[in-house]
């Protein structure tokens, strides 16, 4: 029978501990009294000794994870005992879980029964509903980065989580936040895929999942938009032949120092057109029309489990090359979860491009309080009639979704006409 190692109570006020570092590897021999791992408590970092001699059989809580005191963190086997190999426990545990709501099988050697009822690999950090002290700013930042505040150690007055704590947490976090965005926040610690015990829920069929913060935000805003904003849609087809040639020659001349995409050109053209059509660059808010001074074009960026719209500020005043590098940078930051608030606030219009998925055309939902969003399809060779002859041309369809409270069909049509004119005469955007 292996000996369980549990997260000890190392101070009076300690409620949970973080495994900082395992000082032994699985298979290593451990003597009683020998340091086994380093634990961060609410007070200090400490080495924890093995209470019995044996061989480290299993590590159940990985470095960096935080679990309540009493949670199993490792198993030691007695000298001579066969390695557990992973099967028995991995199966035993889910079975007892499946038998729920009965309490899990008695765990006789647990010194502290209560917390042990939680499956070891899914420590629920501070209890659900327990409020973490955090400043409003830290709370907002955590939400924006889809972080669980309970994971962050507060060092502000009274243990409050402040912006600095969130920043430090983000800086320490390895560069995989995009993937993390897909992890439901409540089950954050389930990121322990190596934990051999397996997640009770992992095998369950098509279980419902709580939404991430980001998904919740998307739900709220999209429902709000589609339910309260009267949308209408106008589509045009644009000849991208000239744009395509300009793009090719600019990129060839750049020799790899930058690369301009069709999307960059659409953003630039949209920005210049917005400058000419202030209504399209306006918000409807609280019964008033707000005409925006700046032209800040957002671009929708897909994330594994969400969507974010970083913003290119003052896009009308930026050169194509500046837009290309700005968009590349914010897309990269978006995908690695490193956007700063400044990167995604202040947008006055949005461009959403599904061209790379070979989409012909689509209609997008407006991102309130903005009053327009441009849905961009792929550039494709198509037969067109030119001077009475059928020719092949590179064409792209764009659809403008419009908030009918802010401007109307004719304005939308004129906007698209000008956008089309610019993209068909792209030299104007460069000059």
């Amino acid at each position: 029978m292996p000996v369980e190692v549990v997260m000890p109570r190392l101070s009076d006020t300690m409620e949970e501990g973080t495994v900082l570092k395992w000082l032994k590897q699985v298979g290593d021999e451990v003597k009683k009294g020998e340091p086994l791992l380093e634990v961060a408590t609410d007070k200090a970092n400490m080495e924890m000794e093995a209470f019995e001699s044996g061989v480290l059989d299993r590590i159940l809580v990985n470095e960096g994870e935080t679990v309540p005191i009493g949670t199993q963190i490792a198993l030691l086997r007695k000298p001579g005992e066969a390695p557990s190999g992973g099967q028995q426990l991995a199966q035993a545990q889910p079975t007892s879980q499946a038998a729920a709501p009965a309490p899990p099988a008695a765990q006789t050697t647990q010194p502290s029964q209560a917390p042990a009822e939680a499956p070891p690999a899914a420590p629920e950090a501070p209890e659900e509903g327990e409020r973490v002290k955090a400043s409003p700013l830290a709370r907002r930042l955590a939400e924006e980065h889809d972080l669980d505040l309970r994971q962050i150690t507060g060092t502000g007055p009274g243990g409050r989580v402040t912006k600095e704590d969130v920043d430090e947490f983000l800086a320490r976090r390895p560069a995989q936040p995009a993937a993390q965005a897909g992890v439901p926040t409540a089950a954050q610690p389930s990121r322990a895929p190596e934990a051999p015990l397996g997640q009770p829920g992992a095998a369950a069929p098509a279980a419902s999942q709580p939404l991430t913060r980001m998904q919740e935000t998307i739900v709220r805003r999209m429902v709000e938009s589609k339910q309260t904003v009267p949308h209408f849609y106008v589509t045009v087809e644009i000849d991208m032949g000239e744009a395509s040639r300009l793009r090719r020659s600019a990129n060839a001349a750049a020799g790899g120092s930058f690369e301009i995409s069709y999307n960059d050109m659409v953003i630039k053209a949209a920005a210049l057109t917005l400058r000419q059509f202030p209504q399209v660059n306006s918000f409807y808010q609280n019964g008033r029309l707000q005409v925006n001074q700046d032209v800040n074009v957002g671009m929708a960026v897909a994330l594994p489990d969400g969507l974010i719209v970083p913003v290119i500020h003052n896009a009308d005043a930026k050169s194509l090359r500046q837009i290309a590098s700005a968009s590349r940078e914010i897309v990269e930051r978006a995908r690695t979860g490193r956007l700063q608030p400044d990167d995604y606030v202040g947008g006055t219009f949005t461009v959403s491009n599904l061209g790379m998925y070979d989409v012909d055309e689509f209609a997008a939902i407006i991102n309130p309080p903005q009053s327009g969003i441009l849905a961009v399809g792929a550039v494709k060779p198509k037969p067109v009639v030119l001077d009475g002859e059928i020719k092949v041309a590179e064409r792209m369809r764009v659809t403008l979704s419009v908030d009918h409270r802010v401007y109307y069909g004719a304005t939308a049509a004129q906007f698209l006409k000008e956008l089309k004119r610019l993209l068909e005469n792209p030299l104007e955007m460069v000059l």
Binding site: T155, P157, R160
Partner: protein, 328 residues
Amino acid sequence: MAVITYREALNQALREEMERDERVFLLGEDIGLYEGAYKVTAGLLAQFGDKRVKDTPIAEEVIIGAAAGAALTGLRPVAELMTVNFALVAIDQIVNNAAKMHFMFGGHATVPLVVRMPAGGGHQLGAQHSQMLDVYFAYVPGLLVATPSTPADAKGLLKSAIRDENPVIFLENEALYNTRGEVPEGEHLIPLGRAEVKRQGSDVTIVSHSRAVLWALEAANTLAKEGIEAEVVDLRTLRPLDMEPVLESVRKTYHAVVVEEGWPQYGVSAEVAARISRDAFDYLDAPVARVGGAEVPMPYAKVLERAAMASPRAIVDAVKSLRQRTGS
């Protein structure tokens, strides 16, 4: 640009406005022959004569009542009260008459009145003569309240106050009369209701008005030596209250300390803190801190008086308490 005192800047403003508009006249105790208790009206009797610079009896209610009446008839009186403490005798005229008439006569009457008076303490003048009382007036719709902190603001705000159609309570500060600063000559107007950033900073926003701006700037210099860059916003007028520069600053620094010379309970800092909490909530990394005078009638004894007043030191401490971190 000429460097002159706050006192001279006020004098310049009065003189220029009297030269510009003959409807402007002054009244108050000892402002003529004696040239004012704080010498703000120096030389004006000699230049403009006793029809436009009127010495009055020691009767504040009469001064304000007469001034409000003159304003109603189309003149543009600038009344001086020796200090804000004596305005309490005239508060009925200010609050119930001057502030209300425009509204109670359906907009047909205007009261373009300015009441100038120094406020503040710190000169061992005792509990009755050391008060700020700025909120007494800032509380009342119908009044405008200006509280300049620099000579340039004193001139620019006073000229605007005299030209305004509303009754304006113009609070000077005894401790500021001798402070010096650059003041534009001639036409220099600062609109009522425009706060100003007096010092740029990125780490904390210190909001203040009147004399407390000087304390805030001194605190900012001390903090800068410790690597904390404070932004100092001067409200300049309490009504209208211009919050936009304050909010803009807090959205940048995430921390705010609101300082006032008067008592903080129900004070200017209470109003400003509430607005910050409402309008910049998601940008706050700590509760809004407030610094003000101790909640006691001002003691006379010098050490106690000093202890009862806000100070640069208290501001520095407040900033640090916001940014303090427990060991991590």
